[in-house]
């Protein structure tokens, strides 16, 4: 008994000491938590400047750094150059675009694309819109023509039907549960979840009730509308058959009460059967959803986003998989997650601040390599490998081969549409398959091997990498330039030696072969 | 036999006299020489006859598979019938009784698609999926001649006005004229509009052939397929000048749902009547003047028509249609929770001039 008391006291002291030190920045607090958990384990050293720069450029600008950017960063002797670099990147237009790209892939899961949606995301991230405001804007759907922003795409796209299949309302409810609350309630649609005690059928149905009366009015303009919701949703478990009902309800929160209007007074704008107009009801479940879900009363909301941001920065969620938060699947660092969720709320759901603090931590900046045997990933004691999106890979290959023309300072060039489509075909997942895991496909390999546009990048035209290499007399110097341009580091002596052999074997095509190999390597095609 | 309510008729060319519901779907119908009997070939293997009081005689059950095709003699009250197992038979109607003259169950080793009696009633010609063209004596069923039709699947045939040649039409979009006496090919007529290769399916075919009474015109019918599988296609009738062999016109319908012109007959030297069957529920009876490019009168309320017979000197028609609601996925049950077969209503129409 006394032992238990002793230990819990010690834990309490540790916990309080970890959280009460008000002078500690969040990133320091994060490191404390991680280091405490990792006690006794070997940890990787902090990454050197180039390893950091590559990782951070990919994460926060969506591409590898140019040679000039590498030089500038190495030459920078200021005290907190990494922190300053992070802040500058996150505040830039390119930073906003990169976040928008990631968010689009993460939340739309390649279901489709829309320029207004993209614009909405880029603007929101550029002005650092708080996450609860964004979530509200997205969940309310675009229900009037006057609404200008493209936030409605998340809902409108999911209300389209495909071929002979009806509209997938269950899919929409499920996606909202997963992406905004971190709970995959799919297995709770027909009965209480069989493995996860906390996921009840009433949770799924409550979420479903927000959407059952929505419908798509116009896919092009993302316009959605709602039929009258005047009664609760009836349901029964396939096992128990007892009839139940629920109004719209965010899991974990109170049910939204459905107002009981006298007949004839339910509508703001009454329906007109002649014009096939369904009317605009006074009670809007989507409106209620947009108000109740992104609220501090809903702890799942902040925990989910914090976990996803953690995944974005670190490469693995504290809760893994990302949409399976429940008692039986605890976070790798439960107190850390609790704390992050609380400070995120306290900082008014400031995404940029959260990302910057995560990025400034030692945890983020550790090298991905260790001399010793690597501990399990969830200890976060070394930099984790991360998948690169088609967009990141295209931008990076253009930078690496010297075809990244920065003609507009402060802005990143855009890709030719045809080239982007090719990259998407080779590297993007099909719709509804989250790009959370690393999966190098056969089509990606064939694409890199034989696609004419990829091989064209290796041509020695003016300013290209291969052209530059061919001008260099000393092969060793050329090899170093090739490595720096593609892998953002210098080659080891061993690597120089086998590179020299390759140059010898490949003769006239030596630099094409050399650069191709570097661009096709796992080191180029992953973030680490 | 069931009595059906009169279908609504548009004002004009035809007037419905009577509808008789057969207990089975029917493929073919022809009036006997004096128009006193309508002879029908049915999917249940029976030949059925309806007399001029619209009563059914006892059916003839000697066939197997489907009775696919019927042709009546123009010289007397006899007729030939062919089935989908290759059986061929000849019958005489005497004092309201049908007598079998002969029956050859193995006349072909495949599905007889069409038979045709020569104008002088001496010969019955048949074509089948065994890709053989055969000629038999109507007297005793002995085989007169045969030749192979290896180029395609034969679909229909018809004797020329002078009985000297036989026109055979096929699946792949042509008609061939053969000399009756030796099977030599004389002429070919292009009908490629009637055929399409859709994926691996050969779709379409020239389904019906008829000659004008004066022998100057040959008309043929089918569809212009747009897809195989459930088969979509516009109705097509092609008319040729028989003597020169030149194509005079192609008359095409407007909707892909209209399907095949399964049967066509000349009412006189200037007018044709034809029936079509397309998507389930879709059937047309239409009248075409040979100088015109579109039918001048169409009746669209008989679903899925497969045969049209002309009797009483062109004053009476019989149209073999199908019941409505004939299609449906899965096990569609009727009110008594049974799974019945479809059937053919036969509509007797008076032609108003």
């Amino acid at each position: 008994m006394r032992f238990i008391y002793f230990y819990s006291s010690v834990c309490m002291i540790i916990f309080f000491s970890a959280s009460l030190n008000a002078k500690e920045a969040l990133h320091e607090l994060i490191d404390r938590h991680v280091e405490q958990k990792a006690k006794g384990l070997a940890v990787a050293a902090v990454a050197d400047d180039l390893e950091f720069l590559r990782r951070a450029s990919l994460d926060f600008l969506g591409r590898i750094p140019t040679l000039q950017e590498q030089k500038d960063f190495l030459a920078d002797k200021s005290a907190d150059k990494r922190g300053a670099w992070i802040d500058k990147a996150l505040a830039s237009k390119s930073g906003a675009k990169r976040l928008a790209d990631f968010f689009h892939i993460h939340f739309m899961e390649r279901l489709g694309d829309n320029p207004q949606w993209r614009e909405y995301l880029e603007n929101s991230f550029f002005e650092n819109k708080p996450w609860n405001v964004m979530a509200s804007e997205i969940l309310k759907g675009k229900r009037s023509e006057e609404q200008k922003s493209g936030a409605g795409f998340f809902i409108s796209k999911r209300l389209e039907n495909y071929g002979q299949n009806p509209v997938d309302y269950s899919g929409l409810a499920r996606d909202v549960g997963r992406l905004f609350l971190g709970k995959d309630l799919r297995c709770a649609e027909c009965h209480d979840h069989l493995f996860v005690e906390e996921y009840k059928q009433q949770d799924f149905k409550g979420l479903f009730a927000f959407f059952e009366n929505t419908y798509l009015k116009d896919a092009k303009t993302m316009l959605v509308a709602e039929k009258l919701t005047s009664k609760k949703l009836e349901y029964a478990s396939v096992f128990k058959k007892e009839k139940k009902e629920t109004g719209p309800r965010v899991p974990g929160l109170m049910e939204v009460s459905i107002p009981d209007f006298p007949k004839g007074q339910e509508y703001l704008v009454p329906p007109d059967p002649k014009k096939k107009f369904q009317g605009v009801p006074k009670f809007s479940p989507l409106e209620e959803l947009s108000k109740t879900l992104p609220d501090s009363a809903n702890t799942s909301f902040s925990r989910n986003m914090v976990n996803r941001v953690w995944f974005f920065v670190m490469g693995r969620g504290l809760v893994h998989p990302l949409d399976l938060h429940h008692a039986g699947n605890p976070a790798s660092h439960p107190e850390l997650l609790d704390m992050l969720a609380k400070v995120f709320e306290a900082h008014k759901y400031d995404v940029r601040w959260l990302i910057s603090e995560l990025a400034k931590s030692k945890t983020y900046q550790r090298s991905s390599r260790m001399d010793q045997k690597l501990p399990a990933k969830e200890f976060f004691v070394y930099g984790l490998e991360k998948r690169l999106s088609a967009e990141q890979l295209l931008a990076s290959i253009l930078v690496a081969t010297g075809r990244w023309n920065k003609d507009k300072p402060g802005e990143e060039p855009s890709f030719p549409e045809a080239l982007l489509q090719k990259y998407m075909k080779a590297f993007a997942n099909a719709a509804r398959e989250p790009e959370d895991e690393i999966a190098f496909s056969l089509q990606a390999a064939l694409f890199l091997l034989n696609d004419s546009t990829v091989l064209k990048l290796l041509e020695p035209d003016e300013g290209s990498l291969v052209a530059q290499l061919e001008k260099i007399q000393d092969e060793r110097k050329a090899i170093e330039l090739a490595w720096l341009s593609t892998l953002i580091r210098k080659p080891s002596e061993y690597e120089v030696r086998f590179a020299l052999e390759v140059l010898k074997k490949a003769k006239d095509s030596k630099y094409k072969v050399l650069v191709w190999g570097l661009l096709a390597s796992s080191e180029f095609n992953l973030n680490h | 036999m069931f009595l059906q309510k009169k279908a609504d008729q548009p004002a004009g060319k035809t007037k419905l006299i009577k509808t008789v519901n057969l207990p089975s779907q029917a493929n073919a119908a022809r009036f006997s020489k004096d128009g006193r009997f309508l002879v029908l070939g049915c999917m249940d293997g029976q030949i059925r006859l309806l007399n001029d009081s619209y009563e059914e005689l006892p059916p003839i059950a000697l066939h197997h598979g489907w009775v696919q095709t019927i042709d009546c003699s123009s010289k007397d009250e006899s007729f030939a019938s062919g089935d989908s197992w290759g059986g061929l038979a000849y019958h005489k109607i005497q004092q309201g009784n049908i007598q079998k003259v002969w029956h050859d169950p193995k006349a072909h080793s495949g599905w007889i698609k069409k038979i045709a009696l020569s104008n002088d009633s001496s010969t019955v010609a048949s074509c089948a999926t065994d890709q053989m063209i055969r000629l038999f004596s109507t007297k005793d069923g002995s085989k007169i001649r045969e030749w192979s039709y290896a180029s395609s699947q034969p679909m229909a045939l018809c004797f020329s006005p002078d009985d000297k040649t036989l026109v055979v039409s096929d699946l792949n979009g042509k008609l061939d004229e053969f000399v009756v006496n030796n099977g030599e090919k004389k002429r070919s007529f292009d009908a490629s509009i009637f055929y399409k290769l859709d994926r691996i399916q050969d779709v379409g075919g020239v389904r019906s052939i008829a000659f004008s009474p004066d022998g100057n015109l040959m008309a043929c019918g089918g569809c212009k397929p747009s897809t195989g599988g459930f088969v979509q296609g516009m109705t097509v009738i092609k008319i040729f000048d028989w003597n020169s062999g030149k194509e005079l016109k192609t008359v095409q319908g407007s909707s892909d749902n209209d399907g095949f012109v399964h049967d066509l007959r000349f009412l006189n030297n200037k007018e044709l009547v034809a029936v079509s069957s397309g998507q389930p529920g879709n059937g047309k009876l239409f009248f075409l003047k040979v100088e015109e490019n579109q039918p001048y009168h169409t009746v669209s309320n008989y679903p899925n028509c497969h045969a049209v017979a002309v009797g009483s000197e062109g004053k009476k028609l019989a149209v073999v249609a199908t019941n409505s609601n004939s299609s449906g996925n899965g096990k569609v049950l009727d009110k008594e929770k049974k799974y019945p077969a479809n059937f053919s209503p036969v509509h007797f129409l008076e032609l108003l001039s």
Binding site: Q164, R186, C187, E189, L194, F195, F239, L324, P330, S332, R369, L374, E378, E433, E437, I438, A439, F440, S441, L442, Q443, A444, A445, L446, F447, L449, D451, S492, W516, G517, L518, A520, N525 | H64, G65, S84, W85, W111, Q153, L171, I200, Q201, D202, V203, G229, F230, V231, G259, Q279, P280, N282, N304, T322, S327, G330, K331, V332, Y339, A341, N342
Partner: protein, 424 residues
Amino acid sequence: MNKMQKCFSKEHNISRREWFQHLGVVGAAGMFSPAFAEAIKKKDKQVMFIWLDGGISQLESWDPKPNTTFGGPFRAIPTNVNGIHISELLPKTSMHMDKMAIVRSLSTKDNSHSAGVDRIQRGDPKNRGVTYPYIGSAISKLMGPCEEGMPPYVWIKPMNGGFISKDAGFLGPKYGAIAFGDGKPPDNLPRAQTVSKELDDIRKEFRAKLDLQYRKGRMPENSEAATAVFDMADKLQQRLDLFDPANVSAKDAERYGTWDLGRHLYLGRRMLEAGVRFVKVTSYGWDTHGDNFNGHLSLVSKFDKSFAALMDDLHDRKMLDNVLVIVLSEFGRTPRINGHHGRDHWPEAWSCAMAGCGLKKGIVSGKTNALGTEVEGKSHDIGSMFHTWFSALGLDSASLEYDNQGQPLPVAHEDEKAVTEVLA
């Protein structure tokens, strides 16, 4: 971080299973137990899956009812197995009945194409809220590639090709199909014109070496997976001869037929010989709601010729011992003949034809009544066929499970059983 949970739900008939949290990256799904993975690794068994899309009519093929109300115009013919008759439209196939096993008692739930095709090819398992893999992806996962290193799941089809990840369901895109559109190789398979064989070898070797370097000090899985993919690309590239029409003899072209199904069954056979684990060949256009009889006359005759040529070749090469051949559609066709002389969709009572690995020879299992309107006796849903195919391939389908991120999932509908009558 380990947490064990047990499911006691009798309704799902799952025996007590432990649900593990996985440490580290597992991938989208892995085998539930490593021991199982080793035990079931049968390298030499393969599948030829012939999909007749749209619904072949069982009445015009495997289960004719000549001279009955709904029987249609055609006859039945005897086969080289005493007592077994099939449609007269399959004369060549009738000479292979002594190698075949036909199930005539299929009765399934879905009469629509878009949902039906999916449900049949995914085995219509109990709803677990996950998308089950198509049979090709399932075999690709459960049995892996053959030792030749060719892609395990290949789909030969008309029109477009590509990488079809949706087949894989929850298994993840890695287990999708590589589709050869019109029998052509995938995009970028042939070595680029501007790269000689010599340079190709040099650059691939260099890339592989870089990856070895990359692995130092890191977890090797991702780089190993990438190298494995490049190896598979290599293997496939070495077999470009498979795609070259010049390599098809005039005799074989004639035997199989020059239509797409013929050409593709021939290519399918060659793919099996090259070591592809699961070959799917699809023929489209079987949905004969109109003109069903002329339609099937054309379609089935072509199938008959191509299929018989395939069976001849598989038999001659003794491949029927280890290749499971399956001929299937998403449903059969209605006995009732509609006004357009077509037959409509009919999942109520239809057939699946098979031959080869693990099956009895020359047998029919199950029957329909005289009119073909109902299964007589025990009927089987598609889950039973999945059990049957898995069993024929030596997999214990009743106890085998997938592991979907900790969620154990039976490989086939757990209420169904294999049709033991056809199993050897």
